[in-house]
C-alpha cells in the first residue's frame, strides 16, 4: 500500500499532521513568546514579532512568589507518588495476570471503574479521614491520593505487558528454584521495564498536575505545590497578562522538562499498553 501512494492522499495527510501539530503546540509557543512582552503590549494585542522584550514578568513573579518552594514541594510529592504507584501497579497487574480467581476478568475492567467515583465527593471525607490519621498537610498524604488516581490506569497499561511475558520464562525460573516474589523481581520486571517507565511517567504527570486534592489537603503555605500556587495567582493577577504568562511558562517548565527526558519510554509503554 505504501509503494503506490496517491499523491493527493499524501498531501492531505501532511496538511492534517501539520494542522494537528499547530493546533496543539502553537498556543504554547505563543505563550512562551508573549511571556517576554510587557503586559501593556500584550493587552494592546498580539504581534507576530514582539516589539519590546523584557524579563520583568519573570523577575516580578520570582520576587513575589515562593516559586522554588512550590517546585520543591511538587517534586517531593511527585517522587513519593512514583514510589508508591509503581510497586502497587506492578503487583496488582502481575496478580491480575497470574492468579486465577473468579471474577478475574471482570476486575481487569472494573479497575478502571475507580474513575467513576466523583472526586469532588471524596474530597470532604478524605479531608476528615486524613485529619484523623495525621496525614493532612503532609507530602505522604497527598502522594497517597495521587497514587489512588494513577494506579487504575497504570494497572491497565501494565496488564498488557504482563500478558505478553511468556509464561515459559516464569516456569523456567521456578524450575531454577526461585520463589514467586523472586521470579517477579528478577525475571518479570526486566521484561516489562518499558511499561514500568511509562507508569512512572504517568504517575509523575498526575502528581505534578493534580489540583483539587492538592488544594484541599495541603493546607499550609509552606507545603503548597506548584499547580495550586500558580492557580491561585490567576485570581490575583486578573489581567496582568505578562505575569500570568510568565507564571504559565514557569509552571509548565518543570514537567515539560521531565517529560522531554522520559517521553520515549513513556511512549513505548503506552503503545504496548494499548494492545488491549
Amino acid at each position: 500500500m505504501n509503494e503506490y501512494r496517491n499523491p493527493i492522499a499524501t498531501s492531505v495527510r501532511v496538511v492534517a499532521v501539520l494542522l494537528i501539530l499547530a493546533v496543539l503546540l502553537l498556543p504554547f509557543l505563543w505563550i512562551f513568546v508573549n511571556s517576554f512582552r510587557p503586559t501593556m503590549d500584550i493587552v494592546a494585542g498580539p504581534e507576530i514579532v514582539p516589539s519590546a522584550v523584557t524579563l520583568d514578568n519573570y523577575t516580578g513573579l520570582l520576587d513575589s512568589t515562593p516559586y522554588w518552594l512550590w517546585v520543591r514541594n511538587s517534586s517531593i510529592v511527585a517522587l513519593i507518588t512514583i514510589v508508591f504507584t509503581v510497586p502497587i501497579a506492578v503487583l496488582a497487574s502481575y496478580g491480575l495476570n497470574r492468579c486465577h480467581f473468579p471474577g478475574r476478568n471482570q476486575l481487569g475492567i472494573a479497575v478502571l471503574a475507580v474513575y467513576a467515583f466523583p472526586t469532588t465527593l471524596l474530597v470532604i471525607p478524605m479531608f476528615s479521614l486524613f485529619n484523623r490519621f495525621g496525614l493532612l498537610d503532609t507530602y505522604v498524604g497527598l502522594a497517597l491520593v495521587n497514587t489512588l488516581l494513577a494506579v487504575p490506569f497504570a494497572v491497565w497499561m501494565l496488564q498488557a505487558f504482563m500478558r505478553s511475558v511468556p509464561s515459559e520464562i516464569e516456569e523456567a525460573s521456578a524450575m531454577d528454584g526461585h520463589g514467586r516474589l523472586r521470579t517477579l523481581f528478577r525475571i518479570v520486571v526486566p521484561q516489562v521495564l518499558p511499561g514500568i517507565f511509562s507508569v512512572a511517567v504517568f504517575a509523575m504527570v498526575v502528581a505534578w498536575t493534580e489540583y483539587l486534592f492538592a488544594s484541599v489537603l495541603m493546607v499550609s503555605d509552606s507545603n503548597r505545590v506548584l499547580a495550586v500556587g500558580m492557580a491561585d495567582l490567576i485570581g490575583q493577577y486578573r489581567v496582568d497578562w505578562g505575569r500570568l504568562m510568565a507564571g504559565a511558562v514557569m509552571t509548565a517548565a518543570p514537567v515539560v522538562l521531565l517529560f522531554s527526558i522520559t517521553a520515549r519510554w513513556f511512549l513505548r509503554g503506552v503503545s504496548a499498553g494499548a494492545l488491549d
Binding site: 494585542g45 478524605m126 491497565w156
Partner: protein, 294 residues
C-alpha cells in the same frame, strides 16, 4: 499483591461510605452537629432547578467530550499512522496539553480567547473571518461549548497516542492481502483498521467519559461555573455546595446522585468494552505484537 489491591479499594470505599452516610444527615460542616434525616437531602436536590440543570449539563458535558475526543483522536491517529521521520517526536509532544498543570491551560486559553487582546480573535479578524471580536468565555451561550472544546483539546492527544499504538499493531499483511483483494484505502480502513480498533475504542470511550465527568479544575479556574452558572457541572456544584454554602450533607447527596448517573453511563460502556474484548480481534493483535518481539 491481593492485599495491596484490597488496600486501595479500602482507601476508596471508606470515604465513600462516609460520604454516603453523610448524605443521609443534615450535616453542614465536618465536625459540626447533625441529625439523621433520611432521604430529605435527596429530595431537596431533586426539587432544586439548579441541581437539575447542573446534572443535565453534566450529562451533555460528558457525552460531548466523549464523542469529540474520540472523533478527534481517530482522525489524528489516522493522519499520524504512517512511518515518517520524526514520527516518534511528534507522537511524544502532541501530549503536551495533558502533561502541563491545569493552571497553564487556564491561563493559556483565557488569554487566547480574550475578546480584546486574545490570539484567536486577532487571527480570525486578521484572516477577515469576523468583523467584531467574539466573546468566548464571557458569553453565557458560548462559554459551555468553548469549555468542551478546551477540555477535548487537552485530552484527545492522549487518546490519539493510545489509538495510534493500537493501529500500528494491526499486521501489515492484512492490508496487503486486502490490497490484493482489490479493496480501496477507504474500504481497508472501514473493514480492517476500524474493526480492529473497536475494542480499544470501547475502553477509551469508558475511560474518557469517566475522566471528563470528574473534570473540576479546568472549569473552576477559567469560569468558576459562570457566566450565570452556564458552565456549572456536577463537580463544581458539589464543591460549591460543600465549601461555599457550607452544606456538606447536601453536597454528599448530590455526589450520590451523580455517582448513580455515572454508573448508569459507565456500566453499559464497560459491558460493551468487555464484549468487544472477548471477541477475536485482540488475540490477533497480541499475537502479532508478540511476533514482533516488542
Amino acid at each position: 499483591m491481593t492485599p495491596v489491591v484490597l488496600l486501595i479499594i479500602g482507601i476508596l470505599l471508606v470515604p465513600l461510605f462516609d460520604a454516603i452516610s453523610t448524605s443521609f444527615t443534615n450535616l453542614r460542616v465536618p465536625g459540626g452537629e447533625y441529625e439523621t434525616v433520611g432521604l430529605e437531602q435527596y429530595g431537596t436536590l431533586l426539587a432544586d432547578p439548579d441541581f437539575r440543570s447542573s446534572l443535565g449539563r453534566t450529562v451533555v458535558w460528558v457525552l460531548a467530550n466523549g464523542v469529540l475526543q474520540v472523533l478527534l483522536a481517530l482522525i489524528a491517529a489516522t493522519a499520524l499512522n504512517s512511518s515518517f521521520r520524526g514520527l516518534n517526536i511528534v507522537r511524544a509532544w502532541i501530549i503536551l496539553p495533558w502533561v502541563v498543570p491545569v493552571a497553564v491551560i487556564a491561563i493559556l486559553w483565557r488569554w487566547m480567547l480574550d475578546a480584546t487582546s486574545g490570539g484567536i480573535n486577532w487571527a480570525l479578524s486578521g484572516l477577515g473571518l469576523i468583523d467584531s471580536p467574539i466573546v468566548f468565555l464571557g458569553d453565557p451561550s458560548n462559554a459551555f461549548p468553548t469549555l468542551i472544546s478546551m477540555n477535548s483539546w487537552r485530552f484527545f492527544p492522549f487518546l490519539t497516542v493510545l489509538l495510534l499504538a493500537a493501529m500500528q499493531t494491526i499486521p501489515r499483511s492484512q492490508f496487503e492481502a486486502a490490497s490484493m483483494d482489490g479493496a480501496s484505502a477507504l474500504r481497508q480502513f472501514r473493514t480492517i483498521t476500524f474493526a480492529h480498533l473497536r475494542p480499544i475504542l470501547g475502553i477509551l470511550g469508558l475511560v474518557g467519559t469517566l475522566w471528563a465527568a470528574n473534570i473540576f479544575d479546568l472549569i473552576w479556574l477559567t469560569t468558576k461555573g459562570g457566566p450565570s452558572g452556564r458552565t456549572e457541572t456536577m463537580p463544581l456544584f458539589i464543591y460549591e455546595t460543600a465549601f461555599s454554602s457550607f452544606n456538606f450533607s447536601l453536597a454528599a447527596a448530590a455526589s450520590g446522585i451523580f455517582l448513580i448517573v455515572l454508573m448508569l453511563i459507565a456500566i453499559p460502556l464497560a459491558m460493551n468494552a468487555r464484549a468487544e474484548l472477548a471477541r477475536g480481534p485482540v488475540d490477533g493483535i497480541i499475537r502479532a505484537a508478540r511476533g514482533k518481539g516488542q
